[in-house]
């Protein structure tokens, strides 16, 4: 088959100049068979099973990257929610399980492992309670373990008691990791309508409907989309911009589909999904904010940002849906503030507020992601921010999430450096009014009318 020079150069340009990459190849491993009445034996089984299945992951991903010339940036592991396997042990602290996950992740050579997880959207089991209690210590004592909790679903409503408890966990985790600017909270996320095949951390885990092992792939490519819109120029109308984004998303997703199929084949496992989320990195040009500004807003956060993001997310989904029959996970656009140079600049220039981010999260794939707030933010305020975000997801039948870092000792406008993929954040002002009575009431927000579909 011959390709035109233009086609060949387009692919090379995407890889070489526009940072096209496969963001993550995540191996999902079911751990349900690791449950044991003895916690030590459960840890032993968890460690062994992750090692047994994960040992070839990094080598396989690297050989695929070398063959196809497309970098695979992260190799990760997602496991069954740990609260589901902790029950038989009756243990009060599940920190040993987190340490077993961490040790296995280190041995296998992955940078993060997701699944220190509990589903409590309607209530707690004893094991869920133990997991909640263990989160702050687990995140402080491990490097690679990521924790996520489900606090609500459209079908179940919002478990406000769990939201209030989660707020305490966030504050405790920030305090325990204050030497690193509250970094522990970057590995902690809460969800409304969590997806069970999400390959991206911190929310990666493998739900109970998933197979024994599965390969899920997260593609990326904000740089490619940005360049394509740039080449289109300012004279094109929105339909043309949409078309360019859709075509580009198609091509990016095809690479994800190829890598997913190939990784599943080489590892002898099942190919799960391609998550077509556009995921930024702190690298220059790898920014969602740049795309929004090229679509036509002066600065991200200005009026027009929500419609630009809605259009971007939809075009990415449509391009992706045509490119792969296995689109899943979160699939849309990520807007993690600290990980996107353009977003950070927009916050610094006071163009992008928390309120605007909340509105944006109603039309993108996740929610309030990597938001820094002052370390002394009242618990009620954090509860309110989380519950507002969950409400958006609940009513719109979509996934929303909150990954918020109260930075100890920092006030609004101050900068915090986390480094690496997590980037830099400007501490944002949550406002001086709170919701202490709502926080104190607790209880449950019932499922909305739109969930009654049976």
């Amino acid at each position: 088959m011959s390709f035109s020079d233009q086609e060949i150069l387009e692919t090379l340009r995407m890889v070489e100049l526009e940072t096209l990459d496969v963001r993550t190849t995540t191996l999902g491993i079911n751990l349900l068979d690791c449950a044991d009445p003895d916690l030590e034996s459960a840890c032993e089984k968890v460690y062994t099973k992750i090692l047994h299945h994960g040992k070839d992951l990094v080598r396989t991903a690297e050989s695929i990257a070398s063959d196809y010339g497309v970098p695979i940036v992260n190799k990760r592991i997602a496991v069954t929610p740990i609260s589901l396997i902790a029950g038989p042990s009756g243990a009060d602290s599940l920190v040993p399980l987190a340490k077993a996950m961490d040790a296995a992740a280190e041995e296998v050579g992955v940078d993060f492992i997701g699944g220190f997880t509990a589903y409590v959207h309607k209530g707690f089991t004893r094991a869920d309670e133990a997991l909640f209690r263990s989160i702050p210590e687990a995140l402080a004592a491990t490097k690679r373990v990521c924790s996520s909790v489900s606090l609500g679903t459209t079908k179940a409503g919002i478990n406000m008691d769990a939201v209030v408890q989660f707020t305490d966990i966030v504050l405790d985790t920030a305090e325990r990791t204050k030497a690193d600017g509250g970094l522990g909270c970057a590995k902690l996320v809460c969800f409304m309508n969590p997806v069970e095949d999400n390959p991206f951390v911190a929310g990666a885990h493998i739900g109970i409907g998933e197979p024994e092992t599965v390969i899920n792939v997260g593609v990326s490519g904000p740089g490619v989309v940005r360049s394509a819109i740039e080449r289109l120029g300012p004279d094109a109308d929105l339909l043309a911009v949409y078309e360019v984004i859709k075509r580009t998303a198609f091509k990016i997703t095809r690479v994800g589909e190829l890598v997913g199929r190939e990784a599943a084949r080489r590892l002898g496992t099942t190919f799960g999904i391609v998550d077509v989320s556009l995921a930024p990195t702190p690298a220059q040009g790898d920014s969602i904010s740049d795309i929004l500004e090229l679509i036509g807003v002066d600065r991200t956060g200005a009026p027009g940002t929500t419609v630009a993001l809605a259009m971007l997310t939809d075009a990415v989904k449509k391009g992706g849906a045509m490119a792969s029959s296995s689109v899943g996970g979160l699939s849309g656009a990520f807007i993690p503030v600290s990980e996107d140079m353009g977003m950070i600049a927009a916050v610094r220039d006071e163009a992008l507020s928390l309120a605007k981010l909340e509105a944006m999260s109603a039309v993108c794939s996740v929610g309030l992601d990597m938001i820094a707030v002052p370390g002394d933010t009242p618990a009620a305020t954090i509860t309110g921010i989380i519950a507002d975000e969950l409400a958006i997801g609940m009513v719109n039948t979509k996934t929303t999430a909150v990954r918020m870092i109260p930075v100890p000792g920092k006030g609004p406008g101050e900068t915090v450096e986390w480094g690496g993929l997590l980037g830099t954040a400007i501490v944002q002002d949550p406002g001086r009014f709170s919701c202490s009575l709502l926080h104190a009431r607790g209880g449950r927000v019932p499922a909305p009318l739109q969930s009654y579909k049976n």
């Binding site: 011959s2 032993e44 089984k45 010339g69 497309v70 690479v255 084949r265 496992t269």
Partner: protein, 169 residues
């Protein structure tokens, strides 16, 4: 269904000096240590010393391995062999094309298509190469990428499949 794991606790409970392990059972590293310390020998069902089995990826995995090759691929004219794209950019000089194609021939590659452009002192070369089998890919890639140099030329070698996925349906 065979048991899934043998842990250190199982070794402690085991009576006797020998433990027979089912083919799909995984022995934890801690259990191996405990067995060594207690002088317990682990054997597989055929009586040989236990070795770690290949991972059992689950009931869906076998089905997936059967069905994956049946998934439609983007159209290819040459289904046999392995298609490789070689893209070379560098300073033009006498013999550079001959060097590159000689290296490809030595690596077992057959050049199917070639396209070259020159701008002033520089050239840009795209070769579509057919390899007889996939095992030739890595050595060819290593050879071509080690040739040239920053002042001379740089070669990039990629599987043709990535181009097919991106540009053909």
């Amino acid at each position: 269904m065979p048991r899934r794991f043998i842990t250190a606790e199982d070794i402690r409970r085991a009576e006797g000096r020998e433990l027979v392990v089912d083919p799909e059972t995984v022995v934890t590293p801690q259990a191996l240590d405990a067995a060594r310390a207690a002088g317990v020998t682990l054997r597989d069902t055929s009586g040989a010393a236990w070795t770690e089995p290949a991972p059992d990826r689950g009931p869906d995995a076998a089905r997936a391995q059967h069905h994956l090759p049946l998934m439609p691929e983007p159209s290819a004219e040459h289904a046999a062999g392995t298609g490789v794209m070689v893209v070379v950019v560098g300073r033009n000089r006498t013999g550079v094309l001959a060097e590159i194609t000689a290296a490809i021939a030595k690596g077992g590659g057959n050049v199917r298509d070639i396209s070259q452009r020159s701008v002033e002192d520089y050239f840009h070369l795209v070769l579509t190469v057919e390899l007889e089998h996939a095992g030739q890919f890595d050595p060819l890639k290593d050879t071509l990428q080690c040739m040239g140099g920053e002042q001379d030329f740089v070669a990039r070698v990629m599987h043709e499949r990535v181009f097919r996925y991106m540009h053909r349906v």
